[in-house]
Subunit: 320 residues, 2 copies
């Protein structure tokens, strides 16, 4: 398969390295990379992990016309407010009947319904496993392994920065000190308040609801409270009583529509959602036929996000 | 697809009910059921959930010749020592080029290597999702969602009775009192000492290693300690120090071969393997590309085991 990348940061590099390592068993070739910062690279024989950059193609159209990919991997930097420019990139690829994979939660949180309609109309595939849990199988688990199952709701702890900051608050740190800790660990988003105020968790809740519960919603509709809504002394006080606060993303069916919430919840210290720390995430899916099943990712990093893209690629290769 | 069941207990009934409920969207039909206790039932239009039993077919061969199934679902009672008669049932079906699904861990723990070779030779499918975690996707997760990934090892808490008994010991109960508790909850095996002495956990470890790590081993090769190897006062003593004992099944690669162990392990009370109670199970898979991912089943029951068979059936329907 001929692959083109849009964006080339840490995840892109890890993905390129992975494709190279797996080349013998999986015949995937990066024929072009388009970036805002470095320019554009093409190579029919496979762009190397350290690409030779040319002058930037003036439009994405021009890039795609020259690279002629079968699959586009969208990994630009997220604009959390509206999911752009990733949504436009994805539409542009669909319009040329190119399959799309993204690690970008914005398009899934803001426009999954219309994007998946468009993919169907153009008869192309659309995959996004790395958007919510760093490549750990969530969407593919439901799609491939849970046929006939209806997802009734979910509860998840899905944001790294808030976990680090809450653990700091348990020890008496301020939110600001906790943010510095998260930044030192390299887990915070460019704007840490996006994490702290629950926007990242809301985007993930909307993405889960859009894909798994057919919700056609956006992060803005999520009832959202963040860490600034907590009494700063409460985490430490609760710790003494065997309780933990986590920023929980949840979705449930209420009267035929999906109610989404992000809020700090008080959990028993032995709760599955209480024990996940740092970049580890946990997601409980409530289903009709399989009861409740949980998936936990343990300390995932950029290599796992890159693997999620790879697993999407193999899934597309199987279905074309 | 024409389905035949061998065995018809609680799981079989739940499975038959599920097929009936899903008939509109999944065209699966039970054309025959063969049991030791009730006799044999046939119906070209679909055997009902409460079958009309006829005299038992004198051999499995005779049953299969008359029912002419495309898929056999093997759900007889397990003989834990050698996996029979399930292994012979599966071989008999393979010999007639019939796909097989089983919820029976014995064949996977004792003979997976040779059975899967045989299935390949006969060009039939073989599935067994319900054998280790009551239908929660484990094997299908690796097969369908983790392409190119190597499983390097695993750690799991996979036996219900031992969890109930250990929780009792924490409160000062004896093993025997704990067994009575587990029996009252309906989670104990016919012979509870099979659970307590770690044989069930060893069978599950062998099954996981056979399928996910190509180990070609049996439960007898697992280094095994059970609850009788614990000082009876220890669980209560450890509880005071924030520690929990669980019966852990584990597998790891050591010098190119797979080392399997079942033993009571002392865990921090916040460990993922420490917090699972009752029928809830947890399994950590250590992989090369996806790091460590965990799956947790929350209070599964017979409906989930039946769903595991159903998901296997859909998977087979997709690949034939």
């Amino acid at each position: 398969l001929r692959i083109a990348l849009i964006g080339y940061g840490h995840v892109g590099k890890a993905f390129a390295r992975l494709l190279q390592a797996k080349r013998a068993s999986f015949p995937f070739r990066i024929v072009g990379i388009h970036t805002l910062r470095h320019g554009t690279a093409y190579n029919e024989g496979g762009v190397s992990v350290e690409p030779q950059w040319e002058v930037r193609a003036s439009t994405l159209e021009e890039f795609l016309a020259r690279a002629q990919p079968e699959v586009v991997v969208e990994i630009t930097t997220l604009n959390p407010e509206d999911g752009e420019p990733a949504i436009t990139h994805i539409r542009t690829a669909f319009a040329r009947q190119i399959h799309v994979i993204t690690a970008n939660k914005g398009p899934i949180a803001h426009a999954y319904g219309s994007l998946s309609d468009e993919a169907r109309r153009r008869q192309v595939e659309f995959r996004f496993e790395s958007t919510v849990m760093d490549g750990t199988p969530i969407f593919s688990n439901v799609r491939n392994n849970l046929p006939g199952v209806k997802v009734l709701g979910f509860r998840g702890v899905l944001n790294s920065t808030s976990k680090v900051v809450l653990a700091g608050m348990q020890r008496g740190l301020s939110i600001e000190d906790g943010i510095r800790e998260a930044q030192a660990m390299g887990v915070a988003e460019a704007d840490p308040w996006y994490d702290i105020d629950g926007w990242d968790s809301a985007a993930k809740a909307a993405a889960l609801a859009n894909v798994l519960m057919d919700a056609r919603t956006t992060p803005q509709t999520v009832e959202r409270k963040g860490l600034r809504d907590i009494d700063p002394a409460e985490p430490a006080r609760l710790a003494g009583a065997g309780k933990v606060i986590q920023l929980v993303s949840s979705g449930e069916c209420v009267d035929g529509s999906v109610r989404l919430r992000v809020r700090p919840e008080i959990l028993d210290q032995h709760d599955l959602l209480a024990i996940v720390k740092g970049t580890s995430n946990a997601l409980l899916l409530h289903t009709d036929l399989m009861g409740t099943i949980a998936t936990v990712s343990i300390d995932p990093g950029v290599e796992q996000t890159a693997y999620g893209l790879f697993s999407d690629l193999v899934d597309i290769a199987k279905s074309v």
